[in-house]
Symmetry: C2
């Protein structure tokens, strides 16, 4: 069997990670030749991958000037969080109406199985992965693949900020990041009870609670990004 994954896919994945982790600094111009050398591919597949990332909002593009890392502003982050509210609340609403009982139960199970790990984890990356995984599964309950797709995109772009946020909370709380699993459980219980209003409002306040924290996190992100650590 020959290779199944193409070069542009590999490059795309690498770039998405780099963009999500802000390996590029906001507004930084991206040098294609240098990057292609780092990634071990020529400029042709690299540019194809870069174009995908532009379409997904991870990067920007200017004619004859090339690709840039997206800027990072408080209002941009706010927009992303608000879009998450829109998508996830509707997903919850749909899940209440149409998710199968067994699928809801499976998600509740997942939450229970995860709880020990979630409560004991201190690594922000790990926590974030679990959190994102929960939200993705929740979106799956809606049965709507567009909502899942949009959420995946938003989470990718919001990822770095959430990481900053989690690290900050861990440092404040003395080595313990806050595993806010009760909010998740509340949402799932609302869905299980087919109580649309309760579930939606639980989701809304869960996300909105993060929003002000995120604004603060952006400020911190700025200081981490613009004061180079090398």
């Amino acid at each position: 069997m020959a290779k199944r994954e193409s070069n542009v896919d590999r490059v795309y994945e690498a770039l998405r990670r780099m963009a999500a982790d802000f390996a590029f600094k906001p507004d930084q111009r991206i040098n294609e030749s240098a990057l292609s050398e780092v990634l071990g591919a020529s400029r042709t597949p690299l540019r194809e991958a870069l174009n995908r990332l532009v379409a997904e909002g991870f990067l920007t593009f200017q004619n004859n000037r090339g690709f840039f890392c997206r800027p990072l502003t408080p209002s941009y982050i706010m927009d992303l969080y608000e879009a998450r509210v829109a998508v996830e609340c509707e997903a919850v609403r749909l899940a209440c109406t149409r998710a199968a009982d067994e699928d809801i139960a499976a998600l509740a199970d997942y939450l229970n199985r995860m709880e020990p790990e979630y409560e004991s984890a201190t690594d922000p990356e790990e926590l974030l992965a679990m959190d994102e995984s929960f939200h993705a599964r929740l979106a799956q309950l809606s049965g709507n693949s567009e909502l899942q797709r949009i959420l995946n995109n938003l989470n990718g772009r919001i990822r770095y900020i959430r990481l900053i946020d989690l690290k900050r909370m861990r440092d404040r709380a003395g080595g313990k990041a806050p595993g806010d699993i009760s909010a998740h459980r509340q949402i799932v219980e609302g869905i299980a009870a087919r109580n649309t209003e309760a579930a939606v409002s639980a989701m809304r306040s869960h996300i909105e609670k993060r929003r002000e924290e995120a604004t603060e996190a952006v400020r911190i992100a700025f200081s981490q990004l613009y004061v180079p650590d090398e």
Copy 2:
């Protein structure tokens, strides 16, 4: 002044129009060489544009097999409509909270100025353009550029179906497509009154009303797409 618009932009715009109007039939394989000749560009910029369209959900891609027109299924259309509900309802919600009175008034004005044209128009394309324009302006009131971006993408993908739908309604109603401007006015009035619940529910029912029609429209779209007219 030299050219401001690059080749890939031009190609992208052309492709987006073609995809929105289903110049490609669902699941049809796209031949890069032939297409590049039609569009007057080499395969390199063409592929960059195609990659953007894949990222935006207009096309699909398979390794070593190339690009394909997206499939067209009732559940896919349903997903798009539901995503629209999510995005537009949240946009309305935000507009109620934070839009400036003068901007709301401007939208109401726009609606009034458009009304004669809207009521008298018989060309579905024209009607659709006006309708999309209204929804885009409404999303602008939210002040959230992510919601605007997502809506723009969803509308682009849903466009063909709405066109089929409008044409069908026109034919049924005897040369008169239904200018449902009252629903739009109701939404704007809700926002002007800062009555969030009223405005949101008006928006929700406005979009959802279209949904069942859309399912029927898909069936018709199928017959138009798979029975070639040439």
